[in-house]
Symmetry: C2
Subunit: 142 residues, 2 copies
């Protein structure tokens, strides 16, 4: 059985972790603010989880989405659970902007443009505030 | 204000509809079984919904995922809420197979191969059973 990279490694800069899941910030030069919410146990699909576990996971996804909207002021938030290459349940959360590398296509499509360096730098400058907002929301269990 | 195609049209073959959402089967030659769950009201993001509405929507997404797994016997199910082009909340559910046009990449990436016609025909032959399973699961409100 091949090793699973999301069982063996954090999968990014871990901002929050509890027994069930973790939130990581992805280091993607074109997409500052790209986050993942990763279920800790090795399951492939949402429906491999019990209903209450699905709710916990999606609540966290929505908490991260809220933080992304608040801090990054994106045009759109993209959510996806794919896992074709790494079949270990994880959600991609990607803040999208009309001037980003692929907009309005998904980030997995062909590159459409190069975002200006100063724009990307402005977005990267928001990451400290994003980290704070994500950790705050994740600790708000209400 | 531009018209929204998911406000004006069903968005596919409507298999189930209630006051809040609908489930449609997408006519995609490469991806028999591709479904969407579309929120009826025009909102853009999951976090534009109230928490209980998010739960209703994701419960339906998971019911469709269960039907896809049961009937299509896919390698993986892909879930995504993107909405960059049509910012009206909708979830893509795509059954993926190792011999499909893009596997293991997302369906929005470059085409990798042509799936054999007889394989696609076998998958299309499962659609009547898929329709039945989706409607059955959606009517199971427990």
């Amino acid at each position: 059985m091949a090793a699973c990279e999301l069982c063996e490694e954090g999968g990014g800069e871990v901002l929050f972790r509890n027994e069930q899941l973790r939130i990581v910030l992805v280091d993607d030069a074109q997409y500052p603010g790209f986050c993942r919410v990763i279920w800790n146990a090795h399951v492939a699909e949402m429906t491999d989880l019990q209903p209450e576990q699905r709710s916990v996971l999606m609540k966290t996804v929505c908490q991260v989405e809220s933080a992304l909207r608040e801090v990054m002021q994106a045009e759109k938030i993209n959510l996806a659970s794919l896992g074709n290459m790494v079949p270990h349940l994880h959600w991609h959360l990607i803040p999208r902007f009309s001037d980003d590398a692929h907009f309005p296509s998904p980030v997995w499509a062909a590159v459409q443009r190069q975002t200006a360096d100063d724009i990307l730098a402005q977005r990267r400058a928001l990451l400290p505030a994003l980290r704070t907002a994500i950790v705050r929301n994740a600790n708000c269990s209400a």
